[in-house]
């Protein structure tokens, strides 16, 4: 098995008047674990179906390993899709499920059986060959689906929110397992999810989508630390948002005027004077004011929730809500009014735009 590169060239999909996916250029490297992250209905599945061949794009091309696949049916493409519903064949045993692709190729039964057993061992399901899908737990079924897809030795494995049906613990366990399988096989994974934690934990690179458009593509740290749009900033991880007009822009920094005075941050969108802007600062970059902080504001502590290694402090300053993550160092969390501070290098000023939650 060897992963291959997937390239989308101005790939777009319209259903009648409705544009599900706007023309998109995207290259996914061979052997990469690539995630597509976005809210429900943003067109993730549609992209996947175009790559696997179930959906004929209304424009653009799909190339896999440099070869144009746009006109090929799904059974002629070197891809394997793991469905949102898993789509295990209910009337076949586990090993028949896994060996289905080989059966379709006409591989003799003994050989099929052997290969299925190997793959089931790989996903830690040895000894379950004769069961039927209904007799397995959710996580086991999940792994059968992976084994079945790997059996045809695909160059690209497409996974459509495969963990969404599992409970939290199992999900975390399966994340690690999928990651291991990907490392071991070297297959290109295109992984779809609307869970940003999942995307950050597993992927090499992530594409953030909104309403049929890819808003940002990059390695996970870049997506988290340097979101390119207000949507990406609020969809991936928690963020504090301050609105205001740009009053100064120089030296890579932008200053905006807010009810709490002037705040500064990295001018990521090269904003000009007078533009509506949003300043984002992650909760873990906020702290009780320290000397090195060049920006300060006062707020009232409303609640403190212990999350284990840290506290979530919910603060309020006028109409503005502020979230602050305070490392749990054994002390009781502060109460009443407190002064916060942050460094302008940690804040990001972006053009005012759509947000992930209302």
């Amino acid at each position: 098995m060897q992963g291959q590169e997937v390239a989308l060239e101005r790939l777009g999909m319209r259903f009648g008047e409705f544009t599900a996916v706007e023309p998109t250029d995207l290259t996914i490297k061979a052997g990469e674990f690539f995630s597509i992250l976005g809210p429900s209905g943003c067109g993730k599945t549609t992209i996947l179906r175009m790559v696997s061949g179930f959906q004929r794009p209304s424009e653009g091309r799909v190339l896999i390993g440099g070869q144009d696949m746009t006109a090929l049916p799904p059974n002629k493409r070197p891809t394997a899709l793991i469905f949102q519903t898993l789509a295990l064949f209910p009337l076949m045993t586990i090993w028949e499920n896994v060996a289905f692709g080989l059966e379709a190729q006409g591989v003799p039964k003994a050989q099929r059986r052997k290969r299925a057993e190997e793959l089931l061992d790989l996903v830690a399901l040895g000894g379950q060959e004769e069961k039927r899908p209904a007799q397995l737990s959710g996580g086991q079924r999940q792994r059968v689906a992976v084994a079945r897809a790997l059996a045809v030795e695909p160059a690209v494995l497409l996974l459509d929110e495969p963990l969404s049906a599992l409970d939290l613990k199992l999900r975390q366990h399966m994340r690690a397992e999928l990651k291991t399988i990907q490392r071991r096989t070297g297959v290109t994974f295109i992984y779809i999810t609307h869970d940003q934690g999942e995307a950050l934990a597993m992927s090499d690179r992530v594409a953030v989508m909104r309403a049929g458009r890819v808003e940002q593509v990059g390695p996970t740290e870049e997506i988290y630390n340097r979101p390119a749009t207000s949507f990406a900033a609020t969809f991936v991880g928690e963020n504090n948002l301050f609105r205001g007009k740009t009053t100064r822009a120089e030296g890579g920094l932008a200053e905006i005027s807010t009810p709490f005075g002037l705040l500064r941050g990295e001018n990521a969108d090269s904003l000009a004077l007078g533009e509506e802007a949003m300043l984002f600062i992650r909760p873990e970059r906020l702290a009780p004011a320290r000397p090195e902080h060049d920006l300060r504001l006062k707020a009232q502590v409303e609640r403190a929730d212990l999350e284990g290694p840290f506290f979530n402090l919910f603060l309020r300053a006028g109409d503005q809500r502020i979230l602050l993550q305070l490392p749990n160092e054994g002390a009781t969390p502060p109460e009443g009014e407190m002064e916060l501070g942050f460094s302008s290098r940690d804040a990001r000023v972006l053009r005012a735009g759509a947000l992930a939650h209302g």
Binding site: P74, A80, L81, T85, F89, P90, L91, F100, A104
Partner: protein
């Protein structure tokens, strides 16, 4: 307040119960009478004018010389021949209407788009067409176009025409409940369309194929109006019963009725048993 409104509601409940009882009597009385007459020695079918218990209408009766004293089922060769014709036709109808119904259902559930509405209407129209019209038109078409005289073959086709619609509706109901992604998964794993159909869709449809065949068999055997016109000078069990009802009834008809009832009971019991087994 609720006590006030309870009283009339209860009355209507009593009336409804009484009606249901009456109705069940209305359903079963004729059948019981008919079954009774099968065992009455009276050569005019009757459950009232009792002339002694006999099973002669089932077995027939001959004297030592082999002369027929009572014409029972074994002597009624036209009934036996008719039964053979009925079964032949029914098997043919299954062979034709199950694949046709399946093809129609696949086309309608998979096609999508604007064409399905008219196509659906066209394919269910035989269900809404009087049986006599189906019989007549089939008879005419095969004679005018191919010179095929009405007979078992045309009867089979005329029946298949509307029985296929029944099958199609059954298959559609099943296909609409199917998870499309199963077929997609098969294709995605490199299966050809045919292989995916054979290995995934067909096994999924298997129970419906059995049920549709059973329905086709029953419908075919039951049918009179269409068959009467399409069968020409041949006959089935049912058309023969019809002919005998017009030209000289005999308790052998009752005997056939009793056999039908027994078969029904046996099959219903088997069916219930298999269901219980499945749920247990």
């Amino acid at each position: 307040m609720s006590a006030q409104t309870k009283a009339p509601a209860d009355w209507s409940g009593v009336i409804l119960k009484a009606y249901v009882a009456l109705f069940l009597g209305f359903m079963f009385l004729p059948i019981l009478l008919m079954a009774g007459a099968a065992f009455n020695a009276n050569p005019t079918p009757s459950a009232l004018d009792w002339r002694g218990f006999t099973t002669d209408w089932f077995t027939g009766r001959t004297d030592e010389a082999g002369r027929v004293l009572v014409r029972g089922l074994p002597q009624e060769t036209r009934f036996l021949q008719g039964l053979k014709h009925s079964i032949l036709i029914a098997l043919g109808v299954i062979a034709i209407s199950v694949p046709l119904g399946l093809a129609g259902a696949l086309l309608l559930t998979r096609l999508g788009g604007r064409a399905t509405g008219p196509l659906y209407t066209a394919l269910v129209s035989p269900l809404l067409t009087p049986g006599i019209v189906l019989g007549v038109s089939t008879m005419i078409f095969w004679r005018d176009a191919f010179g095929v005289q009405a007979g078992l073959f045309t009867a089979m086709l005329a029946q298949s025409c509307f029985i296929a619609s029944y099958c199609m509706l059954m298959f559609m109901a099943r296909l609409q409940r199917q998870d499309r992604s199963l077929e997609e998964a098969a294709l995605d794993l490199g299966a050809s369309g045919f292989f995916a159909f054979r290995r995934v869709t067909l096994p999924y449809l298997a129970p419906t194929i059995v049920a549709a065949s059973a329905i086709a068999f029953l419908q075919s055997n039951e049918n009179y109006n269409t068959t009467f016109f399409a069968i020409g000078s041949s006959w089935t069990l049912v058309t023969e019963i019809g002919a005998r009802m017009r030209f000289g009834v005999s308790p052998t008809i009752n005997a056939i009725g009793v056999i039908f009832i027994l078969l029904t009971v046996v099959f219903a019991a088997l069916w219930a048993f298999s269901l219980r087994k499945k749920t247990a």
